[in-house]
Symmetry: C2
Subunit: 233 residues, 2 copies
């Protein structure tokens, strides 16, 4: 087996090494630089990061806990392949939590309500103004922020934290399916519809649009699957 080249194994000295390695590997997995099925070697990673196996090992067990890695004892550590049932589960959970957050919006004080609405509007404007070479990354960041704001209706940190921890497997797909400008316009339109539903206190409309928006990824993952069948179970 040929050695695989991961881009920039840089390391900072003033933070715990294990956590840095974890974050770095996690982001590499999400953008599919480390592709499903690949094998990671603790020794190899330790050499690249210029640390011992101990912090690498800790990072890998955390990735396994997140469902992004599968550690087979005495055999190797492999980037988990994408599971369609898992994708469906993520959509379900996101839809459940964000819908509940939208339901909470009606019982918010007018001040708090309009403040959040303001945030969503400015985010939406930023989405519409997007252009340039880093368009895809920029949109994903704004999209994350849009849904984070939705969760803020719950006035609690846990909902969004939970979505973030679960979202990684969905992001691996999203990074590929968001390409054409036309698709991007559709996504922005969906966001606008959700916002309009919330603003007019039409939660049925808002939740309906949100569900359609969140489940849309399930109708696009087959695009990725067609070209990379070996990335899936």
């Amino acid at each position: 087996m040929k050695k695989l080249e991961i881009p920039t194994p840089k390391l900072n000295a003033e933070a715990p090494a294990a956590r840095q390695i974890y974050s770095h590997l996690r982001s590499l997995i999400i953008v599919n630089t480390l592709q499903p099925g690949m094998r990671l070697s603790e020794n190899d990673l330790a050499a690249r990061y210029e640390v011992s196996r101990q912090p690498v090992r800790e990072a890998l067990t955390h990735l396994e806990h997140d469902g992004l890695l599968e550690i087979k004892p005495q055999r190797g550590s492999f980037i988990r392949k994408i599971s369609v049932p898992n994708l469906e589960g993520i959509c379900f959970v996101r839809c459940a939590i964000e819908s509940q957050a939208i339901l909470e919006s009606v019982s918010l004080s007018p001040q708090d309500f309009s403040l959040i609405i303001k945030g969503m509007e400015s985010n939406l404007n930023a989405q519409r103004a997007l252009s340039g070479p880093t368009l895809r990354e920029d949109f994903l960041r704004l999209d994350d922020d849009f849904h984070r704001i939705i969760c803020s209706f719950a006035r609690n940190d846990l909902p969004w934290e939970l979505i973030q921890s679960v979202k990684a497997n969905m992001d691996r797909i999203r990074f590929f399916t968001i390409e054409g400008v036309s698709r991007l316009e559709n996504l922005i339109a969906a966001h606008a519809a959700v916002l309009e539903g919330i603003r007019t206190h039409n939660v049925f409309l808002a939740v309906g649009m949100l569900k359609e928006h969140l489940y849309e990824i399930l109708s696009t993952y087959k695009m990725v699957m067609a070209e990379n069948a070996d990335w899936f179970d």
Copy 2:
């Protein structure tokens, strides 16, 4: 500081040590044998389980990931105190996910639907038949199973897995608030009401009763707080 005595640090040889230690410590935390604020020493635990610090350390980092432990570098590892906002977040997320699952029940095939209803009925009967010295533990197990069945309406494993991973901080309270038989009867009545709503396809009733049931713990945690104020932030 006096040495604290944890009950039975037994260990099995045919499973990974780290996972066993993790499970054991986690259950000890949930039943409050390891109380909020207590300090755990890696060396001490390693001696008790008769292993090296390596698997102990892995177990502790996983407990930290679950929010049950706080590892302060070069200072010690402490059982996390109970956070009321965190409790509220757990209630919110559980309510969101289980409500969404109940919503899915209306679009299930009659065969699948009646099969799940059967399971809930037999579980409810078991709850009503409870008695004996291990009543509290038995009820908590049946209660968990009841809500797991609710999640099965989603026909996906992730929702219940996620609830399980988040539920630990709620269980620490539940173990204390479920004491009197009268309270237990109230909880069983709530379960029955939820089931009745689902069976009659009255999802509004079911979701309403479920929300009331899940949020009930927020009105009882003050009982625990009154006697153990130092267990909370």
